[in-house]
Symmetry: none
Subunit: 229 residues, 2 copies
DNA sequence: CGCTAATGTGACGATTTCGTGACACCCGGC
DNA sequence: GCCGGGTGTCACGAAATCGTCACATTAGCG
């Protein structure tokens, strides 16, 4: 799973720091901004997956930023969690009406924060379209998460599964190891290129004699999935 | 799926309006009533699928209406979500005892409302549609709320029951822990993902050696219910 | 036919994921 | 208050998976 990015917007550096530490321990990427203008720019540029927004800030208030983001279709889907002090509880109505997805009152435990953040992300992330692919008797079904050859189930590991899925939906084209690492492993991972070879090997083995010819090595370049010779 | 009908009961027109807009955007049919008497009539006449009920209303209170509806077998199955102000939190117990299926404190975001409404509708036993499921000698009877294997009764807790019911009505599909939390626990809970594992474990144990193979773990993803393999 | 670079392959330790038992907590019933 | 079932969380170990290496094999070239 690729790490989600969270943008923390608060004018107090100490609070940002505390939250950042908690989130980083929970494996989130963290961005910070100390005012609404900077935050808005970062939302546009860095496209975080979630916004942690302080209610009270000098200049443009948090709620104003929330309202603005929700009005713009490009950013309307961005989940927002508002942070407020206990005494400001009355403002909750405005906050949620402005489009916030959740609302946390200070003080809060890091753990609570992470939990609610997870919940919001879970609700916000739409499940992609999944179609089963079948090629030459080889079938991959994303719904049941199974791979079968001529009806017989094959045992493939998670990485081999993703690799095969990528190949089956991108046939007839050669990919370099680097491209495969990007597409299958997901962008920013540091892994040896030769690791791809090993997983290709494992996938071929799993496919068995009947189908391993589908994965062809393109010498000097990388690999290709193809039914043709 | 035919659109579900939701009856909103609140004496403040502005609140009804806000909710109505949110629900219509989410593809629900919406009915409105501003007092308990009218609401009762509409429940009988229009048979909505769910009731959104304000706690505080002039005349017959929301809770009184809820109690009344739950007493009548004709309307007892109707899911009810209570709306209350934060300060009335203490009354939560009474609300749930009166038969409400969920409980939302104002203010709330439209998104939250829709999420919990979905969850309630999902969990709610849609009157009449409940059929007993039997798979591979394993039988789940929603009417008596019992599970049996080859005629022998099994002892499963409430959560395990819902989990099993969900699985039996959604075979051959791999679900992530997140999805299971959404579907079985309801989208608004903040629970660790690993908790799913524990309940899977409890369910497997309850199913016994004969049937625990039906619940399969999909490494790196989650779980699946299937007779195959 | 040798040589070299690229790829195949088996093994291995490190890491991740999952299963499992224990435990603390909540809440309703007694 | 005490008890007991139900629930969520944790810690630990087992198992699967991953990334890397060393070495074998192969393809392409002169």
């Amino acid at each position: 799973m690729t790490a989600k990015t969270v943008l923390i917007v608060d004018d107090e550096a100490s609070i940002r720091e505390m939250i950042a530490v908690a989130l980083e321990m929970a494996d989130y990427r963290v961005l910070e901004a100390d005012n609404a203008q900077a935050a808005h720019a970062m939302v546009v540029d860095d496209q975080p997956d979630l916004l942690l927004l302080d209610w009270m800030m000098p200049g443009t208030s948090g709620i104003e930023l929330a309202r603005r983001l929700k009005r713009d279709t490009a950013t309307a889907e961005l989940p927002i969690i508002l942070l407020t002090a206990k005494s400001e509880e009355d403002n909750k109505i405005q906050g949620l009406e402005a489009g916030a997805d959740d609302y946390i009152t200070k003080p809060f435990s890091p753990r609570e924060l992470v939990a609610r953040l997870k919940a919001v992300l879970r609700r916000a992330t739409p499940t992609g379209v999944e179609e089963t692919v079948e090629i030459d008797g080889l079938r991959l079904d994303p719904v049941s998460h199974r791979v079968s050859a001529n009806g017989e189930a094959l045992d493939v590991g998670p990485t081999e599964y993703r690799l095969l899925q990528f190949f089956m939906t991108h046939q007839e084209r050669a990919y370099t190891r680097s491209q495969l690492l990007d597409q299958v492993w997901g962008g920013n991972v540091y892994v040896e290129e030769r690791t791809v070879d090993v997983h290709i090997r494992r996938l071929r083995k799993a496919l068995g004699d009947d189908h391993q010819h589908l994965i062809q090595t393109v010498r000097g370049t990388g690999y290709r999935f193809s039914t043709k010779e």
